[in-house]
Subunit: 434 residues, 2 copies
């Protein structure tokens, strides 16, 4: 028997605010950070790694919350846990006193994601499979048991979810073979951060095209005049055949969103991302009706499956950008993937930050292989920074994610990176006045 | 000039789980707790007190978050702050790194409420007025400036909010005079906690009737057979003329809620409270259509004004049970009161816990005096415990809140209570193994 003997939770912060990487109209100076969880067992060969993503201050709150969330894992048999991944999720999630602080949202939910991501990583490493493949070996009933379907039975009863997965089960291998050849399509956000100059934008757009990308995303919403100029530059460089996406990071009220997007319509964006409050389901629906045929995308702040259920019910979005750390790990992601498939909404996960690309590649591959069965309208975000801190960084080639092959959820950080960027005592931070 | 010199944040927990006070189908063993904030100034006569409410574990997370939220207040001129209560709210709220952890929900938002509740308390104490009266002295434009209207302009543009308040401004004094005679109507939840025996339920219902209450609320959702028996007891004791409310504390999926409430319809409940996930706007709307004429109530977990906006837009609720600590203090409560008035939905605030009754009495009185102008369909929750820990406890007489007259937001706890219940070092907790 292998037992969980310790849970280490680290506050890791990268000083991205120094270079304006990741800057947008809402988040001008984020320091990309991770609440990083290591599950240790009495077998030194078996550990699990997971994290949630934040942008700096308050990462310590997630660390403290993850320590509380993880407590029931101590002393437990790893086999018991990894053979019932739905059960352990429900157990951790159901602490009623912590639940009051959400429920299922904010710090306690981000912390649940960090801990359960480590549990899923451990399960995949134990199975000797990359996470996507572990999922792809599970039967429809096993997947549905692992998913968090609470509060969803009005749109997705258990039997319907099983039926949806069963229809795709016989052809999983074909789709795996296809992705092994082509990779999973991605787009880049690296070109369009709001803090970059026009020249840098122009250069980066050209580099994206040269690297094989057919989709480029720009941050907007700071100033309309700037947005018009920047969109014109991007469109000019990428040409009319490539897709341009724009992202406002929640800065607008609904009427303002409609007006502003209207003023950028001439650049034919594929989607407007986060036009307003991420909680405003009906607001997104109204924006969507008003700006069509420009699509509406949201999800990186989609707090839980109940929000996504309603985004689907209200026909509020064209693209579902679920987040691997904002949702309660794979268990809740599965529920959103199932609903998206039912409603026919393509899932284009949010990525970037630190480590999100590493995680979502698994989710997108699994979605195609076993849930949606389609690549139509699907592109997964890719941002080219901070990958060097991972032991198993994602690989993007010709604008597509190469299928991960190593066991786990690609969530493990390099020891040297932890030593440097642990906050506040790592070597990078220790010398600075904070 | 008076300056804020220190912000003390205390973790205060009351061992309510021992007696099953507060037990319901979702929260079986809460220890009612407060993240308690004291703003100190260089004038020993001027301090502000505020808190948010939690149910035990994780209160430490809110304490840590409140310390971060409050940091920008240190060294500030009290006059600057209390003369622009909307400005300081927006400043504290807009920390973009902390915002990522919500946004505007969960731990960081509960913490914002704790801090801003203390700021409002300080403002009211400085003015020598109870909070409700401080608000009632503000002009419509001042109130709208203090309110958080971001993301609401699609339903409540600034000018419309001012117009709504202006229509009630000339008659405020009449309504104050009325409430000084009658008090503000309340109902009691003290009788119906799920952990109580049938005999205790019967006795407490009779005591409620004897004390003048015309509304009694029962927790339901554990077991249907028990619920039928308990509703029958309550209805028998209170008679057909009094109102019975039932509260499921989010335990049901939407279809289950509809069936279960249908099975209790014979007891003619006035409302079903929290039938499902508090995030499920469209789910509440569906339940409401199905169970009419039984009303639907929710709000104690209503995370922010954007959720309430949609509950109103979707015609999802008959009663708005906003929470003084879940929303971002008075600033966000004002926005919800304004929208509720526009949509004609009565506000019946959530109370109980620790100190919530002390706070919401001010909000309900102000709502009647300056916003809704109506008592129709309004009753404010009252639960009779833990009031002894406050220096200015609320007073309920003949089933109605007596208007608070002492300066402040009634949020200050007694020093002896803090010494006893501070966690984990207060005298109550120090001797126990936790």
């Amino acid at each position: 028997m292998t037992t969980i003997t310790a849970v280490d939770v680290l506050d890791v912060r990268f000083p991205t605010s120094v270079t304006a990487d990741g800057s947008d109209a809402m988040n001008k100076d984020g320091d990309y950070s991770a609440t990083y969880v290591v599950l240790r067992t009495d077998d030194p060969e078996q550990s699990g790694y997971g994290f949630t993503f934040t942008i700096g201050r308050g990462n310590d709150l997630c660390v403290a919350a993850a320590e509380q969330r993880a407590r029931p894992l101590l002393g437990r048999d790893v086999e018991d846990i990894t053979s019932d991944l739905g059960g352990i999720y429900r157990e951790l999630q159901s602490d009623s006193q912590l639940r009051w602080l959400g429920p299922e949202k904010g710090v306690v939910h981000l912390a649940l994601a960090a801990v359960m991501n480590a549990v899923w990583d451990l399960a995949a490493r134990r199975a000797g499979l990359p996470l996507w493949k572990l999922l792809a070996t599970m039967t429809p009933a096993e997947l549905v048991d692992a998913a968090d379907l609470r509060y969803l039975s009005d749109v997705l009863p258990r039997e319907e979810a099983i039926g949806l997965l069963t229809r795709k089960a016989g052809t999983r291998e074909e789709r795996i073979a296809q992705l092994e050849k082509t990779g999973y399509p991605s787009y880049t956000t690296s070109a369009g951060w709001l803090g970059y100059s026009d020249d840098k934008l122009r250069t980066l757009c050209q580099e994206a095209v040269d690297a094989g990308y057919r989709h480029v995303k720009l941050k907007v919403g700071g100033n309309l005049e700037d947005d018009v100029r920047r969109c014109a530059i991007a469109r000019e460089v990428i040409g009319d055949d490539a897709e341009l996406m724009i992202d406002a990071n929640q800065v607008w009220d609904v009427p303002e969103a409609i007006d502003w997007v209207g003023a950028l319509a001439e650049f034919k964006p594929l989607w407007i991302e986060e036009p307003t409050s991420p909680d405003d389901i009906l607001g997104h629906a109204r924006v969507r009706r008003a700006v069509a045929p420009i699509g509406v995308a949201t999800g990186e702040h989609g707090m839980n499956r109940v929000l996504f259920k309603q985004l689907f019910q209200a026909e509020a979005i064209d693209y579902c950008q679920l987040d691997a750390c904002r949702l309660g790990s794979v268990n809740e992601v599965l529920a959103v993937l199932f609903m998206a498939a039912k409603f026919g909404v393509p899932v284009c996960p949010h990525a970037g930050g630190v480590g999100l690309c590493e995680l979502v590649q698994h989710l997108s591959v699994f979605d195609f292989v076993a849930v949606s069965g389609s690549l139509e309208g699907r592109v997964t975000e890719f941002v080219d920074h901070l990958h060097e801190h991972f032991t198993d960084p994602c690989v993007v080639r010709d604008g597509a994610y190469v299928l991960p092959t190593r066991p786990g959820y690609s969530a493990r950080m390099r020891d040297a990176s932890l030593a440097e960027y642990a906050f506040p005592d790592g070597s990078y931070w220790a010398g600075r006045s904070l």
